[in-house]
Symmetry: C2
Subunit: 536 residues, 2 copies
């Protein structure tokens, strides 16, 4: 990583005496770019004269113009968001730069080059899409260049972060950046089953994800506690399975809105329909899907996982998954598969036992395999790729090599080693559970976790596609989720985007202090990362 | 504690299939009243015909009318807050009670009796004021009776919690309550120095405090990181010591607003001006107040605690405290006194050494005593009582018996035993630090802490005035403080109000589930207390 000049300091002396415990940087980028040269020379950006300029024949002009408008607004409103503190003091805007040797000119435009073609205005992000970009800010002309519109989006985000407020004016240092993500799968899991999260909360998280270059919303949509997805095929699933059939559900129009909001930010939406366990809420409308539990040979009050022995289970899943693959256009779906391996209810149900005997299935592992092979064939017939939680792999289910195993248990490095040694793709969440709390500023524990710290060859490590920060929903509602996720998930964002040697949490502190305040100003209710402080 | 009928169940069968992990109670009171009898019979309250009725000659009619309006509004808006979920289903209001044997009539008014006199409309709450009340809800007449307006306020809060929504209608069970607080000092500490909290956040917390029968806002106003209080006498303290001299300060008008908002809710505001340590921000405008630190006999960059050797220190404190006692009308002030006992800078400063030698002060404990005796005399001359952190007591400072020692260190039971054995008053926060986080639902750790679990006689235990939940400000900003405090502080509220045998956190869960949703509906951004769930 190149960095010719470290520019932490401000151009003006600081105005106020009391300062945060960790002084924020100014105009540093989060997650840290792969290569960056920053000069002490700077340009002044005046919003009323500044614009993004794509060439006339740029691909997907509407898509890009919308992005330009979003980022122009973020930049142009920075003085009113941040600068209100200065304004109330009634100070006139001072053109401090006119007498400053490091001032090298005004930044009137950023030329945006899209080198590759853009398929169509309806283009969708997919796994492995090129997100590279290069960015030059100079008094001799400033350019953002990328092969795809996803690269343009990432570069616009970086550009918006380079701009900072000095006095009441926007400045940006002369800078050269060449940037690309370390991993192609950079996810945030949101759980909308344990607590319902209103659509606006999901959209706010998508904004914050874009500000952190995340590119996958892993939507843990349904689970035991509630089924908020309004299915076109089986509307009774949410009518009876949601916390409330009208106000605590995602209508089809909500889902479309979320997918579209994500798409234009270069974020994929991968829904999770967890099976065969975590399906209690499915049983509220379709009890026949679940395995009745027995205790001391008597039917028990509880219902277990999906019943793998009935053809009707697979008919139902075929209908539901056909819909899901249509509604969620991503190439992948997450079919869960955690917490099934105690086989508690399968083991005790006499019909299951009879089925196994009739079909020469001699172990519960084989029964699980039977279930998953059926589901996999459904997904294959739908041309959908899939992710599964690590238990599916660890329980010996036969999985083709294009399956992605989502490693989640504590640490998880042994599992990631086994997954990649077996030639499967891995996505990692082992140490990135955002519901795990500790006293104090605790993002460092996420930051100091290196996902490739497992025993494997380079070839094995190449099978790791990335990871996801997981916001399980037991203890977060709409009032607490934003400060719980942010900026703690930002630590994971940097692990997944930046170079492997960007791993010093102490060095990262001042940048995260700035970034936390940056996303606060952009409307994200982020908690403080570093102890006593203030966002001015 | 009496309770003739336990009424957890709802009158109507529940409407939706998916339910929270812990089902909320309906119309249960938090904190739990000392004595309560609840019948299965209920009355229906129709807001347009319901009113509070004080007799014509009731004391402080304006004060009480304002309280009646607040609580009428809370009750009358419950259907629109909670019931919107039903309303969107377009269901007509169903008079289910007309065919129900338990329906015994309509509640058209609550007669409010103030038995004692009310000194004046400007009455202020003070330590030990009577907060007892009795409340009868019956089809033969409903009455709230109390000796003081504080008792009336507590009774109104209880009444508002007894009312719950059934379908789209408000119902209240026939109930008899006799209630009084276990402890007279029930506090919440808010730290506005480590992060500035806007006035609206403090007001929201005062609302939430009233909903939990807290009666002391311990305002940890200034500390090392910043000095946001705008002093009339020394405005430079905040001009240089605040995070921002205009936008991150409490003007005198803000302070008055907060004190008045608290007063009408029966909440005292005790400001803390912590000394001699935690005064770094004071030194930004008044470096002469602080003890210069030395390292290897050379002046060091750091400044230590207040300099106890200079007369000018006491002149300054006299002026500041004279103002503070005038601005904050409570009988008590908190003068801090924690974290001074390493004596790091005092020990190394040659002027301090010379002073000690000249004045026959042979130990740093004696020097601390000299400092505090001077401060105590100032406060005595101002007729102000005071609280100090436990270190002042533990370091052997001579303290009169009317001093209140605020016990804070881990557990703290040995200290509370020593404090009360020495005949001093104790206020307890030892296990109630809200900044201490653990994974999952963690209010139980606060709830299961019994402050009188120390080795002492009944006489000693009577010296414990109560306690305070402490929201230290290192890791909370305005975006995260509300769900961090609520409903975790509610656990402490119940310890301080309810009978000692109300100590089973499992039994409390369904009531806290209801109470968390209740304060959500009233606009408090409370996090979920008990795992998966929903507020309908």
């Amino acid at each position: 990583m190149l960095k010719l000049f470290v520019v932490f300091g401000s151009i003006l002396a600081c105005c106020y005496a009391a300062e945060p415990a960790i002084k924020p940087t100014k105009g540093e980028v989060w997650p840290k770019p792969q290569e960056q040269e920053t000069s002490e020379n700077y340009l002044v950006l005046q919003p009323h004269t500044f614009s993004f300029k794509g060439p006339a024949d740029i691909g997907c002009p509407n898509f890009l113009n919308d992005a330009f408008t979003r980022y122009w607004t973020i930049i142009a409103t920075l003085p009113s968001q941040q600068g209100q503190l200065s304004e109330v003091r009634g100070r006139p805007q001072k053109k401090f730069w006119e007498a400053d040797d490091n001032f090298v000119g005004y930044l009137d435009s950023l030329k945006v080059e899209l080198i590759g073609a853009c398929a169509s205005e309806a283009v969708r992000p997919d796994l492995g899409d090129d997100e590279n970009y290069s960015l030059t800010i100079s008094n001799e002309g400033s350019t953002l260049s990328a092969s795809t519109i996803w690269g343009v989006l990432r570069g616009l985000e970086t550009f918006s972060q380079l701009v900072y407020l000095e006095g009441e004016s926007l400045v940006v240092n002369a800078t050269i950046i060449t940037d690309f993500p370390r991993f192609p799968h950079r996810g945030l899991l949101l759980d909308t089953s344990r607590h319902f999260q209103p659509v606006y909360i999901i959209l706010q998280n998508l904004d914050a994800m874009a500000y952190n270059k995340f590119n996958v919303l892993h939507w843990h949509l349904v689970d035991d506690p509630s089924f908020p997805y309004v299915s076109r095929t089986y509307p009774e699933l949410s009518e009876k399975g949601a916390y409330h059939p009208v106000s605590k559900v995602y209508e089809q129009s909500d889902v479309s809105k979320i997918i579209e909001y994500a798409r234009v930010r270069g974020i994929r939406v991968i829904p999770e329909f967890n099976m065969p366990s975590h399906t209690e809420s499915w049983g509220l409308s379709h009890p026949e899907l679940l395995t009745a539990c027995y205790f001391n040979d008597q039917p028990w009050h509880a219902m277990g996982p999906l019943d793998p022995t009935k053809n009707t289970t697979y008919t139902f899943l075929n209908n539901l998954l056909t819909e899901v693959v249509d509604v969620f256009p991503d190439s992948h779906i997450h079919i869960g598969g955690d917490d099934f391996s105690s086989y508690f209810c399968w083991k005790r149900n006499p019909d299951v036992k009879a089925f196994m005997s009739d079909n020469n299935i001699s172990s519960y592992e084989q029964l699980a395999n039977y279930f998953f092979q059926n589901v996999i064939s459904l997904l294959d017939s739908l041309n959908s790729k899939y992710l599964v939680w690590e238990e599916v792999f660890l329980n010996g289910v036969t999985l083709p090599n294009n399956t992605t195993i989502h490693v989640r248990a504590d640490g998880g490095f042994d599992t990631l080693a086994a997954v990649t040694k077996a030639g499967k793709f891995g996505v990692y969440s082992g140490c990135w559970y955002l519901d795990e709390l500790s006293t104090g500023s605790d993002w460092q524990k996420f930051y100091e976790c290196e996902l490739l710290d497992f025993d494997g060859t380079d070839e094995h490590k190449k099978l790791v596609l990335g990871g996801a920060a997981c916001m399980w929903g037991e203890t977060v509602n709409e009032y607490s989720i934003m400060p719980r996720v942010w900026p703690r998930a930002s630590a994971v964002a940097e692990k997944l985007w930046s170079a492997q040697d960007v791993n010093d949490s102490e060095a990262a502190r001042p940048r995260l202090e700035e970034h936390g305040c940056r996303i606060n100003r952009r409307g994200i209710a982020s908690q403080p990362p570093n102890g006593p402080g203030v966002c001015l």
